[in-house]
Symmetry: C2
Subunit: 279 residues, 2 copies
Amino acid sequence: MKVLLVFAHPEPRSLNGALRDVAIEELKAQGHEVRVTDLYAQRWTSEVDRADFLNLAPQAPLGPAAASKEAFAANALTDDVKAEIERLLWADALILQFPLWWFTMPAILKGWVDRVFAYGFAYGVGEHSDKRWGDRYGEGTLAGKRAMLIVTAGGWEPHYSGRGINGPIDDLLFPINHGILFYPGYDVLPPFVVYQADRIDDARFVSIAERLRERMRALASTRPLSYRPQNGGDYLIPSMQLRSELGASGATGFALHLNEAEALPVFERSLPSGLMRGG
Amino acid sequence: MKVLLVFAHPEPRSLNGALRDVAIEELKAQGHEVRVTDLYAQRWTSEVDRADFLNLAPQAPLGPAAASKEAFAANALTDDVKAEIERLLWADALILQFPLWWFTMPAILKGWVDRVFAYGFAYGVGEHSDKRWGDRYGEGTLAGKRAMLIVTAGGWEPHYSGRGINGPIDDLLFPINHGILFYPGYDVLPPFVVYQADRIDDARFVSIAERLRERMRALASTRPLSYRPQNGGDYLIPSMQLRSELGASGATGFALHLNEAEALPVFERSLPSGLMRGG
């Protein structure tokens, strides 16, 4: 496979830098081709502004969505953004690696999403009718590709558990996994998360690195999260609400958007998906 | 009251620009003192990097949390960050105004959080014991102050409802409201959200502006979201998990961290909190 790893940590001599090297080494050992976008190293610009849209008239007000649509259609996005779009189209799998800062990604990575995920490329794709509401959430430009997060968190694992004070890690990452990655079509794999990332001794690093290598070896075969495709019949159109007979009774929240009927115990997730689907 | 409004939209001639002006006008009409941090206008730097920490030795690896702790303690943060910290200490109320991009704040505002919410100021505050786990989640430097979001979203309101495909807006905003604002101590007010923000005619704008004026008039009296204080007895220490007898049985997710016993119907939220607490 072709793999793009987008790396968002300011210090190569960090846990994140070491884990990145482990991931790349293992991916290459498996015969994958790897490219890395190192956002800090290449001094990525984080802010969407007028300079993003080369065809925007100097006096025209900037409407970011409309400007993005027009610039993408006219091939008038900036070279840095166009290069990232080419890499996303090239890659069979996308890995976003970052430290969890204030319960989400660092600004520089959000700025990569804000600028690269253009209208007509990552959103605003497809037609709307009484049967379909655009190509999004499981369909779209990046459908058929895989994506996963590698995340380090300073906090303790129980603080991110189902009843933990920070909120469950799967819910904290839902806006990224579902809203940023599943939205333009990616199959999203379970995240790789390291807790208490500021307190890692050599023995723990060895164990974390081995877990990460396992995930990299299984990148092509790990079962994706069972998010529900938008246009597959589970949602009413145009209200895009989950049909009342689906999901646990009375439930609300992000977990509704996982198809529990397809969900399997975690220990089975790393089996080849072909095997899983065949039973 | 003293109010700080942090504004994160690149175009003053936008819906966000117009709503900002409405909010400021109404706040001033109520006798409040208002300051505005206009992130795009002042070309805010979004990326945490070595340049943030004036006392970091040139050859030392950058550990962002440790560097932040040392620089905050030594008064060696940059002038732009120190100015924002001063404004946060000055203000009785903080308003963050932004368009929802990819289900969270734009990079430039995340960069304001990443850089301004320093260790020793917004996190890493207070002592740990078997009774307390630092001053956070309802306690901390900014306790006693109020905060709220003004958010515009391109999507339809039902898509953000309890069973909507994007996820409930309250859950999407939880990492901000609970994880960024409640964490350092703010009382967090219900957000002001505008949907279908790209399709607003004059009549709808008038109605939205009036709703916003009402919220600004009630800024000092609106009942905050009933997030549970960390050290108030609801959470086990040190696992920081919500006690098993609290919250709906079997429930998980963000909603657990609201104290339902204190929750009141939405229509009562804008009454003065003194009245509410008195019954």
